[in-house]
């Protein structure tokens, strides 16, 4: 996939993360976030930890936070569901802020992941994790910077759901 829109969006998202102060990012790929993850990997100002399963990323980000890093976890909503116990018994129980950048599979206009799309926001809500849907590139900085302030202030994870339109992918 070589998509200029996707590259531009990825650059803007990673720039937004850095404006938010993020310096440590754990990721598990989704095809839709390929460019975002490539951009994270290339950025010398971000420590990138590629994961094998999402819940270990919750632990890695928690450890890095305790030592003073500002952390984000980039994953798909299926992966977020995988990590719910870790989010509950580590992030929420120990009050650890972690920015969750979640690709919103099954969002309006998407095919194949309707069940996943339907449960994503209710699960976040049930966990008491505030979430914001990010659809437009012009809102990237405001939402990422704001979400990180909220995460640090509330000492909880905050979720930003990234849509296809934002990511510039089909």
């Amino acid at each position: 996939m070589d998509n200029m829109d996707a590259k531009q969006s990825a650059l803007a998202i990673v720039a937004g993360l850095k404006k938010a102060g993020i310096d440590f990012v754990a990721t598990l790929p989704d095809e839709k976030m390929l460019e975002v993850i490539r951009t994270v990997e290339k950025d010398s100002g971000l420590r990138h930890i590629p994961l094998c399963r999402e819940e270990e990323g919750v632990g890695i980000c928690a450890g890095a936070y305790l030592a003073g890093r500002k952390t984000a976890l980039i994953l798909q909503n299926a992966g977020f569901l995988n990590s719910c116990n870790a989010v509950t018994t580590t992030s929420l129980q120990f009050q650890i802020p972690t920015l969750l950048l979640i690709y919103f599979a099954g969002d309006i206009g998407d095919r194949g992941f309707t069940t996943l799309g339907a449960v994503t926001e209710p699960v976040l809500q049930a966990l008491g994790i505030r979430s914001y849907v990010l659809r437009k590139t012009e809102e990237i900085d405001e939402i990422l910077v704001g979400a990180q302030i909220l995460a640090e202030d509330s000492k909880r994870p905050v979720a930003v759901l990234l849509t296809k339109s934002l990511l510039g992918v089909k």
Binding site: G59, G63, G68, F94
Partner: protein, 199 residues
């Protein structure tokens, strides 16, 4: 021999290393090495990942993960993630008693699943079994001095000494004590000073 004897064998060698515990081992570790640099985790399996996050963030500081077989088997996916980064400052200790000790004592699969093979297969540069407290201490010191990601595994009998003091530990207090300790020893601010500190 029980886990306690092995923990006791290395306690005096751990300096200002950070130690992350899971399950019943926490009470034993606090008894042999009381320190604000000790952290007890909650999520079964995540002890190695939380320790790894600390090790990635503080590459100049030794970090010890005190893992058990139930937690280790639950987080096998975490092994290649750690191996990929090869944190030289992480020492991964595995106490294999072949049961879920903190969850009632039913058997784990560790009597057939060989932890050292799993760690080596995942890419750990060094992993070994030991069977005495002397070997355990020697391997621990070797891991410390060689700056090489290591898993040191030992088969232990379940159980712990009956006379250990109970762990009076609120987990949020543990978190804050641990973070303040890191602020002091790393000489940097970590926690946000908070809304009330604004001028």
């Amino acid at each position: 021999m029980q886990r306690y004897a092995y923990l006791k064998a290395i306690a005096d060698d751990t300096g200002n290393a950070l130690a992350v515990c899971t399950g019943w081992s926490a009470r034993e570790w606090w008894a042999v090495r009381p320190s604000d640099g000790n952290l007890k985790t909650r999520t079964l399996g995540l002890v190695s990942s939380i320790a790894a996050g600390l090790a990635f963030a503080l590459p100049h500081r030794k970090v010890i993960a005190i893992d058990g077989d139930g937690a280790f088997l639950m987080n096998l996916c975490g092994l290649p993630t750690i191996a990929l980064q090869r944190p030289p400052n992480l020492i991964h200790l595995l106490f294999d008693n072949e049961v879920y000790e903190a969850s009632g004592g039913t058997a784990t699969a560790s009597h057939i699943a060989d932890a050292v093979s799993l760690a080596k297969g995942a890419g750990y540069p060094h992993a070994c079994w030991v069977s005495t407290a002397e070997e355990f201490r020697a391997e621990f010191l070797q891991a410390w001095q060689s700056d090489r990601l290591s898993l040191i595994a030992v088969k232990v009998e379940p159980g712990q000494p009956k006379d250990l003091p109970p762990l009076a530990l609120d987990e949020l207090e543990n978190k804050y004590t641990f973070m303040r300790y890191l602020e002091r020893t790393e000489k940097k601010g970590i926690l946000s000073p908070g809304f009330d500190s604004k001028s």
